[in-house]
Amino acid sequence: MAVAIALALIVSACQQQPRTGTATSAPTGTGGEQPKSGGTLVFIVSSEPPSFDAHRETTYALLHPTSPHYSLLYKFDPAGITKNPKIVPDVAADMPQVSADKLTWTIKLRTNVKFHDGSQMTSADVLATYNKIIFPEEAKGVLSPRKGVYAAVESIAAPDPNTVVFKLKYPSGSFQSGLASPWNWIYSAAKLKEDPRWYEKNVMGTGPFTRIEYVKGSHWSGRKNPDYFVQGRPYLDAYRAVFIADANAQKNAIQSGQAQIEFRGFTPQQRDDLSRAMGTNLAVQENSWVCVNYITFNTTKKPFDDVRVRRALTLAIDRWSGGQALSQITIVKDVGGLSRPGSTYAMPPAELQKIAGFGRDAKTAQDQAKALLAQAGVPNLTFAFHNRSVTTPYEPVAVFAINEWKKIGVNATHQVKETSAYIADLRNKNFDVGLDFNCDYLDEPDLQLSKFYSASGLGRGLNLAHYDDKKLDDMITAQSRETDVEKRKKLVWDIEKYAMDEMAYQVPVLWWYRIIPHSTKVRGWEIGSNHYTNQDLASVWLAN
């Protein structure tokens, strides 16, 4: 009987379901194609959001299903985001007007933006939103993990319903990009007044899609907002984010056509499997990723308080051959310093190769490493390499590093712990050497360098090497206040030389590489350098 039921289900399931929606004329989309309206995009999200408030959360698992409900002041232009990420107005009417002393930023707002409850969005909403992010009412339990990014802001004002003015204490090199943060959803001032934590459990924005439902553990869905302020957008009738944690189940969902895309990233093996199974029905987008693994030394513990030991351990790693080999099996590839390789602030390769562990001559580096260990009195160093129990990419990266250390006579044991215990150990200094990681939404030195501040100062809870270094603090602050890009680049490179080479506190292993295989039906979405931005789906459409 069971077999009979099963066969019946198979046969009926094989019948194709028609897609809803109609094709209409619309503005030209990417690649010169005419975007078509209609259809439901189904995409995969591998974990679920804790709360619905992007101002307090840090996981992409919130941004992917929920960003389509919201707008930002500025955002990254979805067109050309792969090669040339460009900030464009979202609810802002234009780019900011900046005063000559770079301390006053005046922003005009669009006048046709409505919240999903029909109320008009005004400068009061933007003011309330940014006050919540930069000056959170902590006494009322409002948390804002990224308020430090806006430390330069002195005050915010809304002189008229369509204007917002930010006053800065000092010029900031990262302020403009901070206004395009994918976390800074515009909230309703009225709702925030009602309850500053209202958005933790409710959704109500000005974005291209309104919310249909959220079934925990299952899916999140939204439908087209007919009052969206950009005419003709969005193209999709609806979207459905399906929560699938298992990597094989994710791949199966794409292969069977039940889902069209996953926006975070797949492994090379998943890509190849899908490519074999789907052939020309699969498109693959790839890009370098603003995520990196660091080797972090517990500088409060001997012998890792000795810079010679730290330098030896970074010198031993042949990143160039590692990048080539590991990119075949996991999501790392590029060799770089503290900024993503190829990005604006990335150190030029010739300079980078002068830094310990980043040169092309692996043999010489290993000989230098052995000599340094001998000088430090630990020629046969043994330690535990602390890692989290997540396969991609942590395990292969750690195994690679351990193997490289073996070549200089160092015996590191791979100590794998479940994520929560791993984080607790790193924070509590209960480790020798750890594999840390960092992901950001933007190539911005203020973001990438935040974990290099002194552990007892601005780096508290971020700097897991647990050192204090006043000189480095001053260097990081100086680059942050430099608004000239060329001058700032040089300051950032000086920091890299100091932190990675001279002191070797925490050193990058390899930068991640993002791979998005998806159905060829998905159009209007370009891969970016991170998995946080470009998720409002306003420009995404489905081909027949």
């Binding site: 069971a2 804790p50 215990a421 924070r427």
Partner: protein
């Protein structure tokens, strides 16, 4: 009998209290912190002050005895608390998944019984014939192959042969029975096969044992037909151990299908429990473990009551 039932029901309270204490203590002994995980687990740079602030907000800065007292006071008011991870009531989180888990357990159990009892009886009646060998190989196969692995194979066959996979999201049986079964029949088959193998072997050995009893010989001597002997006399008397096995497996299925749930992307209790442990969501873990313990205790109790029905010789006093 009534006194026995009341006694058994009252005994559930200290049992569940013991489970509650054990779960509470074990969760606190495991290293890790939900707040650090929530903010630092994604690679984001979050200052320590935010972590400290959130710990205070969740009451994790309180002493362990105080946390336990708060939790117990909540249970006394039938308030299981809110999930530390999502901030939603624990009851809401669990009840959402319970429908799927219970339904899957029921379908798997029905499939297992439908396979195990007839095949187990046939194997016993046809002992040491080729029929018995085939059934035994079939049942050993079920024991040897993990159900999640069978699930993976099923999905691969469906995908490669038909280009189809079971639906990704759950639809209630009442809302759309077809969509519901399209999703649940596959994991139920995978789990039910292994489940049936256990019950099948138990049925076979139990029937074999009973078939050697004097009253079976007497029934045959009286000229009763073989089918009547097997069904009326042998089967009913051999059901006690089978019922025990089936019941305990049923209780296990409610929360024990973690891997199978992942393979089929099922939004069940097992997956919720694993996620809650990984997140160090103390209140949710405590509630789920308590629920599963309650299911086990209740099923045990019901099985004991069923014994009386199956074997009139059994009396509780």
């Amino acid at each position: 009998m009534q006194r026995y039932i009341v006694g058994r029901l009252l005994l559930m309270i200290p049992t569940l209290f013991g489970v509650a204490v054990l779960t509470f203590v074990v969760m606190r002994l495991v290293p890790g912190d939900i707040v650090a995980l929530r903010y630092a687990g994604t690679g984001a740079s979050v200052p320590q002050e935010i972590i400290d602030q959130e710990r205070r907000a969740l009451g994790l800065d309180k002493g362990i005895p105080e946390q336990f007292a708060d939790w117990m006071a909540g249970i006394a008011r039938l308030d299981m608390g809110t999930s530390l991870w999502t901030g939603r009531p624990v009851v809401e989180e669990v009840s959402l998944r319970l429908e799927l888990s219970v339904e899957l357990a029921i379908i798997a159990t029905l499939l297992a019984i439908a396979l195990a009892v007839p095949l187990g009886v046939i194997a016993a009646v046809k002992q040491d014939t080729w029929i018995d060998y085939v059934i035994r190989v079939f049942s050993i196969g079920g024991l040897a192959m993990p159900s999640f692995w069978i699930g993976i194979l099923m999905i691969l066959v469906l995908l490669t042969t038909f280009g189809w996979a079971p639906p990704l999201t759950f639809t209630s049986l009442l809302e759309d029975p077809f969509a519901n079964l399209s999703q649940l029949i596959w994991p139920a088959l995978a789990v039910g096969y292994r489940y049936s193998a256990v019950a099948m072997r138990m049925t076979r050995s139990s029937v074999l044992e009973v078939m050697r009893e004097d009253y079976i010989r007497t029934a045959r001597a009286k000229g009763a037909r073989e089918r009547l002997v097997v069904v009326r006399h042998a089967l009913r008397n051999s059901l006690l151990p089978v019922v025990t096995v089936i019941s305990l497996e049923f209780a296990f299925l409610i929360g024990g299908l973690v891997v199978t749930e992942q393979v089929f992307n099922l939004n069940g209790i097992g997956k919720l429990l694993v996620d809650a442990v990984a997140h160090r969501d103390y209140t949710l873990v405590q509630a789920i473990v308590l629920l599963l313990a309650f299911v086990f205790v209740l099923v045990n109790f019901l099985v004991d009551m069923l014994y009386v029905f199956l074997d009139p010789r059994i009396r509780y006093s």
